[in-house]
Symmetry: D2
Subunit: 265 residues, 4 copies
């Protein structure tokens, strides 16, 4: 327990964005709480690395799709460790491209439970506390699918589109109360062993090779941007920001462009 | 039963947009099927009006939040009446402005069930049939909240934001198969007794008076735009369109603008 | 001269969108005035076709980049033919894809003069007249480049981006005065011999073949959408709409999508 | 002259954003070059302050609307001081709200010359140099008017809308070459004596008082965000970001929201 430290909570703390954000905030003096669904061993390793570097951290296994799981976690932390000054909602809902008929109803629903409803639940139990303290930040990792729906992304895009609008309603109500809500559109692939790595499996290393040097987002680098956002003074808050590797075509551009852009008449 | 007629299905057929769209498509030669959750009497009246004008129509009470309700309806129509050539998903999820802490989890979830999940279910059971026939259109009534989240709109905006992204994923997969998906951003209030009328109650007439002549969307007029969209030849399809009364400030503008726009430096 | 007829003016009246819009409005009872920069013969042919079909039309050669050219045209029409009820600004500024260093300053400036400044000049001399009459519509043909800047589109995108924002400021000031401003995002190639045809030259027919049946926008079909927009009652006005062939990927989607959408994670 | 230092150039270096960015980059080890149109005395003061703090800085009076002015400045710096590693285009074009008929053609054109064309000229003479060096960043201060056109903002919005699309085309061509282009949407008023201060005159202090504590963007704080963006490693670049004070309603929200959001039905 650390009375003197501010708490940084990550929901979705794998070895990619979540874990690196936890490290970054721990380096900056926060007590980092890492919550994830499974892999107690991997979680312990992340917590251990932070502690070995002289930081404070705790780990917690958590199935965010279960009722009260997020709510109880927030309660426990605020009572047992200290006030959560900053929280990162980092749960993804990407399941790869699936045609409409290969997207079961329960898959679509689970996408929403993790991608949108969990954020609502987190906000509902934590933002009023932050507002009462007049300070706090909610960082939300988001995706290309939050701003455009691509073929095969039915579940993911519907969840992320809801997530983005929810961030705007939360900001509209809570920014004036001193709570900073930031929606980060991660528009490129991340060097994240626990998500993209598992999605690609054996092909992950070849994929990164093909992307070239600095062609995949380094989650440690992204963590610096998260840190920056969480510490903007409140006269100058960012609500939305995008990031991608320099070699990646942004979501709004074709790759490659037509020789003659007959489209843009 | 009408073998020779194309079917137009409206899910959410009140006395506003849904009912007028049904009338418009019946006038144009469709067999209109009107589905709504409650008020059998009101439903019968709408169906009766269409029939009295020489059109074909059927009515169906339907709780779209129940499992299989939409799926069974589509099945029944396609078997009993004929192929659905055009469908309007017109269910709203507006509950008025509610602070975060006054938005129960079940309310947020119901908003999603009606605003987003129901559309997914409809698409999943109907679009493959349309694709097989190489023809069909899915019109989706949408709202300001689909493009921006305003204070108090947590449930509505999250549902509508998901709805909009879902329309894009459906379009990406089904447009090349000949199915037209159109997302209509209704960015103004509609003269709809069954939704806005009930929300405002006694104040509805005063509200319309205050908006002035032609200050509220006439659902019969909007129905003409729906008809136009559903009948665009496939070399020139619209995916997204907005509508509002001429006196209404679009969602992206302030009302009124600052005397000096210090914001837009 | 036709006192009894409303006037429809097209600035940029080639054989594609502009010419077909003129035909459509002439069929609907307007006196169509077709203005274009060059090719008197082609212009006469368009005017002749309308007259042969029983419509009213006039032609005018006009270099819209010259001072007072648009202003004088509007003056002449309003004095000599009648009040302009509807106007279509249809000048493009597409020059194909050019790297930054191959885009001369004068090219960039000309793009703006035709793509943005000409619309401002038209609006300034015509919208106050429409506002005084309490009625009128300004249709603006726009392009993909108005909503996203793609590689090589420096001149075009800068002009079209300005055009789109200008349409919003014009709408904000003039919609409440009864003038309908509509911005049409043409997000696909058009079967337009005078623009795309000239850009592609000999390859135009092969290009259309490759796009397949109904794979290119038929400007006559688009003209019907223009007509619809110009005649929406003012309780239900559209400010922005997109169109594309059913086989075209919308500007916000990749074509083709990645096998695994590693981007949208 | 400073061979060992990277150069940071600000075009539009008043006492607000531009001046503070120059200070921040000078603190970080850059030689800051401050260019502005007028007020040699004010410019000298800014340069002096940086030097007094141990930083390197130069000042230059420059009318960016004149041909070759920007081009010559870039040439001079690259030859006389060193390679420009980072540049901030900070020229505004806000002239306050003016009805269409009170916006002279030359005003509209000047807005474009400063707001859009100057950026194109800067990019054309500098980005190829950066690309050849494989490194560099172009920061572009932008405004609410780049994303929505409000009443009275004809000149400003058309210029800024073009600016935003231009940033996207520049990014599309130059990001893969190692040049980072970032478009910063400043969606709130800035404590900038030379721009907003002059626009408001005597009312500036009262305006800031009314906005409350931290209710106006501190340009020194914003400069930290500029620094962060310019130093993101290239595997994780931001192209667009917004900022505003916590008390300011974002551009997409109404202020205040309607008691019942009849709009977002």
């Amino acid at each position: 327990m650390s009375d003197s430290k501010k708490v940084f909570l990550v929901i979705g703390a794998g070895a990619g964005i979540g874990g690196h954000a936890a490290k970054r905030f721990a380096e900056g003096g926060y007590h980092a709480v890492l919550a994830r669904r499974s892999d107690a061993e991997g979680l312990e390793r992340l917590v251990g690395e932070i502690r070995d570097s002289g930081g404070e951290a705790s780990g917690k296994l958590l199935d965010a799709s279960l009722p009260d799981s997020i709510e109880d976690l927030v309660d426990d932390i605020e009572r047992g460790i200290g006030p959560i000054e900053s929280v990162l909602y980092n749960l993804g809902a990407q399941i790869g491209n699936r045609p409409l008929t290969d997207t079961p109803l329960r898959t679509f629903e689970l996408g929403w439970r993790l991608g949108c409803f969990g954020l609502f639940r987190l906000a509902q139990c934590l933002l009023p506390r932050m507002a009462e303290r007049g300070s706090g930040s909610l960082l939300v990792t988001s995706a290309t699918a939050a701003v455009r729906g691509n073929a095969g992304q039915h579940s993911h895009a519907a969840a992320m589109g809801g997530r983005r609008m929810l961030c705007q309603t939360l900001n509209a109500e809570y920014a004036p109360k001193g709570v900073h809500v930031a929606h980060i559109v991660v528009d490129g692939s991340v060097d994240a062993p626990d998500t993209l790595g598992k999605l690609l499996g054996d092909r992950f290393e070849a994929y990164k090779q093909a992307k070239g040097e600095e062609g995949v987002i380094d989650p440690g680098v992204l963590a610096d941007t998260y840190w920056h956002l969480a510490h903007q003074p409140r006269n100058c808050w960012t609500h939305e920001i995008d990031v991608r590797p320099f070699t990646d075509t942004p979501w709004w551009n074709d790759n490659p462009p037509a020789a003659i852009d007959t489209k843009s008449r």
